[in-house]
Amino acid sequence: MTDLAGVAASPGVGIGPAWRYVVEELELPEGPVPDPSAELEALRTAIAVVADDLQQRADAADGEVAEVLDAQAMMVADPELADAAASSVRDGALPAARAIVEAGEVYASALAESTNEYLAERATDVRDVCDRVARQLLGRAAPDLAELPSGSIVVAHDLAPVDTAGLDPTQVAGLVLEAGSRTSHAAILARAIGVPAVVAVTGVLDAVEDGQVLGIDGDEGTVHLGEAAVRDAGLRGRAEAAAAERDRLAVLAGDGPGATADGHRIELAANIGSVADLRTALAAGAQGVGLLRTEFEVLDQHEAPTEDEQYERLREAVDLLDGGKLVVRTFDLGADKPARFLPVEAEENPALGVRGIRLARAHPELLDAQLRAVRRAADHGPVAVMAPMVATLAEVRWFIARAEAAGLRDAGVELGVMIEVPAAVLTADAFAAELDFLSIGTNDLTQYLHAADRQNGALAALQDPFAPAVLRAVQQVCDAASAHDRWVGVCGEAAGDPAWALLAVGFGVTELSMGAASLLPVRAALASSTLERCQQLAARAVAAEDADRARAVASEALP
């Protein structure tokens, strides 16, 4: 069998040697040990080594992964656990590896019986850390993803957040999992870091040998074993074509800040949910961040993040950006995007419900903590902040008042709102008079302009950002902002479409924020057109009678 089928989880073609991530079952020695005091010393050393390693990983991680690793580091260094294991070694002459696993099992089985979901999940953590100590003692360490040879395809049963915390995206050519689905943790991570992935590939670990050449097709969801199969599947050709296209665009795009052919500056920024996304975006040439989805990392937290925690995250992003601007969007939560720490009532129409700034008005303390964290982060680099789902001038004023109370104006933080509701488009002139910038969220704006649910596949044709209503809305917002000398950004998916980006620039948008993978094609398109050309295209496209004609107009100018 040289071709295996699974589920496409992250697009693109990856070719490279297989690196199997297999954690073999441990066989625990029986004992008794001849020298319990030496065994005791070995136990203490192993606990210290594992605790130190976990703490280092926790410090290097962020969000939920950091929280899990931090708790694991505390568990392995737990005085009661260590005492229980030590007394079985001292009094029962048990080998240290068996002693720690058995001591851990006492806690794990007690936790596993809990009716509380959180405590029951912690049983896995206790077993995991004791297993690590035992492996350390027996010299049978599990493979470490941090030591992956460059350009490998990782083949595993599944990868937990803990496993992927040390993964360097630039070292991985692809990811194949026996388990998982499109929405499993590893699949989401693969898409975020732009690595092709295929999941749910039954039997792949047995079928593949370490070092064997693998080709994976993240668009079709197939895995090809061996050089001949990779070639037969046309993957070499596609990988070369993709590389050639990247090279061609890279030549067109050039270096330096984003700009049109005649030097009109356009800020090319990234949409990110975490610091890991930011690293990927910076490597892809992002100059700043146009949308930090602050809710992304905290959805699974049981407690609202504190001001300090939020500040630490923002500070890390500001430092990485090194002078580039960070646009922070305050929590965009609601019934369609519920956070564990903020249970909300189910709603008949969550997309039209209590979300974004509407939810913030019900919980102002959450917004205030966020704004204070932004204020502190602004001491270290340029930061702007914007509120989602704003519909009225009263909401704009409420947001400005909270921001001013937190000292944001005095700290030089630019204030803005997302334009994603038709009411905001129609009153953008009034908003612009009191704010520093407006940021258009094209996904929601398109859905609300057409009254068509984004999640409903039958209405996909109404989600077209080239539609006349969307283009007119963008034009109207740009004109309103320009009358007050304010800047306009776009942070919806349309910003990453090179043809649409040319139109946006023609209307007067000066910041385009997108996923990392879109930065190169958009930069190349801008570098190939003058501002005047963009303006001509925009004037023709906005007059087109439907989306297809507008797209055709914009595509004329693509390099």
């Binding site: 929280e67 931090d70 708790a71 505390m74 568990m75 005085p79 959180y118």
Partner: protein
Amino acid sequence: MPERDLTFDNEVGLHARPAALFVKKAGEFDATITLHKAETEADARSLLAVLKLDVRRGDHVRVTAEGDDAEAALDALTELTGQL
């Protein structure tokens, strides 16, 4: 022996991050600190013991401390509980 009654009004009680914060704080003192919930008790320096105690929102817990800095430890833990 000094003791206090604590009530955990925060969302998740002594689980997750609050448990970790509580245990770390207890570890800053020399005193032997014990949590008592109904008939069971837990060493406040052991995350596993504290988790096993399963303190949930609204639960009352008696905390005892023995040692030179017992009072200071109880003050600090009471203050922390109010901030969880």
